[in-house]
Each structure stands twice: as structure tokens, then as C-alpha cells.
Symmetry: C2
Subunit: 131 residues, 2 copies
């Protein structure tokens, strides 16, 4: 099945060859932090909108104090989420290789959780050294 | 079951209060990149040595071209791995809250893959703003 193929071809931007982009996303004053169904749908929508391919998804809700940890494993790498409802805080990371667009995923996640404040840092992973 | 509890208490270092540390680890000239059993054991050993609690583990091997994507979901957050055997490259991230020690996990992963070169950057996640 073609979806089984790794979409992991290195890409080139600004003359730099690298594996993919990794977004570290912190959200504060965010909503739905203790609702695994909402978070699952947000991950699925983020995968879809970014053009990525889902291989596996797993979410865990902590009891009795609440909070969710979850991950979507992708042909292009992964999206993870960890939430602290008591602090209004959610930690996401979105790592995508190939043609998938992690920025689109970030937009979907932010729309789903409506945070009062969001911080995103972007890291190029697997940057090849010049020969 | 006590292991079910979230070990996600924020901590304080250098006067800063934050959720946990997130290590972004790039390995080059690494070994065992197309061996899911070795990588699974490396993740399990890393979880154990760091003092973390495993909730869920999943690894996927890409066929026919090789490479592995996997994740361990923890009570303290997660460890992920993505490998490109054809380039000798592995991308890990280790995000741990509470008392778990992500540096120990990084040591275990490096010992398991014996990379020729390793780059680690550390990010504090969920840094609280001063009141």
C-alpha cells in the first residue's frame, strides 16, 4: 500500500539540506485540556490538514487528577500532546518530514484549543553538514 | 494503581518554574537504525534508567525501504525515535516532567546506537511567567 512508504526524503531550503521541521508549541490559557475526544480529533484534523499520513494514534487520560498525554505516529514523523488542565497549559510537538506542512498542523491545534497565549519554536532536524 | 498517576508536577530550577525538560537529539553515523527490536529495547532501557513510567509503546518499521518510527508514551511525557538508515541518521526527542531524568535516557540511547556524532539541545517546556 502506497501509504506504507516512508515520506522521509530530505529537503533543501536556503541551501541547507535537512530531514524535516520540528515545532515545539506551548499553549497557555488553553481549552479542552481534559477532553481526550476533543484532543484526538484535533490531532486527526492536524494530520489531515498538514497533508501527513497517520500510522498510529494513542491517547491516555490520567485519573483521577486529569490531563491527557497522546501521540500520533506519522509516515512523516509524529505529533505529541501533553496537557496540565490545572494550569491551563498544553505542550505539543509537531515533527514532519517530506512534503507535509507542520505549520498547518499548528494552526489546526491552536484553533482547537483557543489558547490565550501560544509560543512556537521551530527546529530543523537532521541538518546535513556541508561536504 | 499508583503508576497511573500523572507525575507532572512543575519544578523549579534557577528560580524558574516550568513543566519539564525536552531534549532534541540528532545522531549521525548511528547503528541499528533498521532494527525495531533493538530500538524498542533502547527505548525501554531509557525509560527505566531515567526513572520514568511507561504507559504505551509503539514502533513501526517502514517497508520495503526500511527505517523505523516509534514512540514511548510515559506518565512523565514521551520519547520518540525516527530513523533514516540510508543516511545513518536518527532523530530522538525526550520530554520528561517531574523527577524523571531525561539526561539518563539520552545516555542510554547513545550507548545503544553508538553514533559517530551526536547533537543535543535542551528546552524547558511550560516556563511560567513571573507574576
Amino acid at each position: 500500500m502506497s501509504d506504507e512508504q516512508p515520506k522521509d526524503h530530505f529537503k533543501t531550503a536556503d541551501g541547507v539540506r535537512f530531514a524535516g521541521s520540528h515545532l515545539i508549541i506551548d499553549m497557555w490559557d488553553a481549552h479542552h485540556l481534559d477532553e481526550p475526544d476533543v484532543l484526538r480529533q484535533a490531532l486527526l484534523d492536524a494530520v489531515d490538514r498538514s497533508g501527513a499520513t497517520l500510522l498510529h494514534i494513542h491517547l491516555h487520560r490520567f485519573t483521577p487528577y486529569g490531563g491527557v498525554s497522546g501521540v500520533a505516529v506519522l509516515a512523516e514523523s509524529h505529533i505529541s500532546v501533553h496537557t496540565w488542565p490545572e494550569r491551563g497549559y498544553a505542550a505539543f510537538d509537531v515533527f514532519m518530514c517530506g512534503d507535509a506542512d507542520p505549520g498547518k498542523a499548528a494552526e489546526v491545534l491552536a484553533a482547537a484549543l483557543s489558547p490565550g497565549r501560544i509560543e512556537i519554536s521551530t527546529h530543523r532536524r537532521g541538518v546535513m553538514q556541508a561536504q
